[in-house]
């Protein structure tokens, strides 16, 4: 089984984002960037499939600026085989990302595309599902467990209230959730080895995809701040406060 894993370069998970004073977006200057945490989980899953002998090749693809190559290198150091960078400095919306990935899928013909369930920057949670629709493939979103079942895949999904299992024919798109696995840290020898792995460079134009945004950002603002509260002395004081506030 050949696995394609899209990865996105985003502001690091632990960075407190700051809204720009001119309200045009968030400040990305001199901010630590990393691989989207959900994408790390999909890379890990693909690499585990390869180690288990279920996957034959793991190809990672990233759409973004030149620096997105570093994100691809991280995935290669984790164990992916080769990378594709679709280079653009423009902001690419999920629909356009899905269109580009559909073109990559047509070329690479993977049996499985493993994506993160969402990126932690725009929180859209759309790309995997859109890609599945454009390819007319089945989808298994928010995966908690992925098992091979003959030629099919059994995907156990995190749904409100519990877990749901679906069986998908391949090729399929699966988006991964938090509990699927715990991504590894790349070892130094593997980081060195990753430097020699191949990364092909493409552009949105080379795929003939129009990435013009459909949405215009009017403004980006800080969320309403919560006014600081009070500290209470003990449990009795807390209960009294809650009773006065009508909360209990």
């Amino acid at each position: 089984m050949k696995v394609l894993v899209p990865v996105k370069r985003v502001i690091d998970y632990n960075v407190k984002v700051r809204v720009k004073p001119d309200q045009t977006g968030v400040d990305l200057a001199n901010v630590k960037m990393s691989m989207n945490p959900f994408d790390e989980i999909s890379v890990e899953e693909a690499v585990r499939m390869k180690e288990a002998g279920t996957a034959t090749e793991v190809v990672v693809v990233s759409i973004g600026p030149q620096q997105a190559q570093e994100t691809i290198r991280t995935a290669l150091a984790m164990g992916a085989d080769r990378g594709i960078l679709i280079k653009t400095d423009a902001a690419v919306e999920p629909l356009a990302v899905a269109k580009l990935l559909a073109k990559v899928a047509a070329e690479e013909k993977p049996d499985l595309i493993l994506t993160g369930k969402q990126a932690i920057d725009d929180d859209s949670n759309q790309t995997g599902q859109m890609l599945a629709a454009l390819l007319d493939w089945p989808q298994g979103t928010f995966a908690y467990k992925i098992e091979k079942d003959g030629d099919a895949l059994k995907v156990t999904r995190e749904v409100d209230g519990g877990l749901q299992t679906v069986k998908l024919t391949t090729p399929a798109v699966v988006t991964v959730d938090l509990r699927l696995n715990e991504p590894r840290y790349a070892s130094l020898p593997n980081i060195m080895k990753a430097k020699k792995k191949e990364i092909a460079e493409k552009t949105p134009e080379s795929y003939g995809v129009d990435i013009t945004p459909r949405l215009t950002v009017v403004k980006v603002t800080e969320p309403a701040a919560r006014s600081g509260g009070v500290k209470v002395e003990d449990v009795a004081a807390l209960v009294a406060k809650l009773k006065t506030a009508g909360a209990i």
Binding site: Y13, V26, Q139, L163, R226, G229, V235, L242, I248
Partner: protein
Amino acid sequence: MAVLVIAEHAHGALSDATHKVVTAASKFGGDVDVLVAGENAGSVAPAAAKISGVRKVLKAEGETLRKQTAEAMEALVVPMMAGYDAVFIAATTTGKNIAPRIAAKLDVMQLSEIIEVVDQTTFVRPIYAGNAIMTVKSADAKKVITVRGTAFPAAGNDGSASVEDVAAPAAQTKSEFVSEEMVKSDRPELAGAKRVVSGGRALGSAEKFKEVIFPLADKLGAAVGASRAAVDAGYAPNDYQVGQTGKIVAPELYIAVGISGAIQHLAGMKDSKIIVAINKDEEAPIFQVADYGLVADLFVAVPELTKSV
């Protein structure tokens, strides 16, 4: 101008999330129709017909739609969109699964988890887990929108819409429902609960989590939540997770027990009406958002609180 709302329902009961989505759809304007699809649609449709402001209810039943798989829902909804300017659906795991498939087929950019409808082209949605709020304008002819339930009040129940049948799409063979394993609980559902008691890593073990958090939650009639750290440590199932990567809640009362208040957790609960934090570390960031903070050993304070409420 007409809007289609896709109803959220399970086990024959209409979810309150649908009422909230109808409120959001009404703000968009035009006639609001509600689509009830899947198993038990027949018993859910009358409840949907009572939602205030609904013009008509469309009911679609059939084996293919049984569990509302995204592939079947796409096949049902995409042709229906010829008659609608927008489709609204709750930003639940069901809605998030379905909506982008519909958007891609309509070649439009979806607007995810909106918290405000400004006008028919302009919407407000949180990004970076709520650490920034984006106002965005859509140039697409049709809008595909998921709605964050906590941001809209529920519509009333004084409607009397008609119910019409819609044919289910032909069977598809690419995906098939196998089974589900739902967590059985007498406690309210986390996302819609009026009160939530959440535990963090300071609980130390799954046993202590149960022993300390559950009695207080049960006494208050509250849902149980957990921080990502507690989930990662195996103290609580992922379904309990409140935060950027878990559930977004906004109850009347949120009690954070032994939770330090990582950005990721605050993102999931800071819109709660009253926040109580109980933590040994007085420097914990959770105190910056708490209305009432108690610096104390949770293993002493929480049982005492359980006794006093």
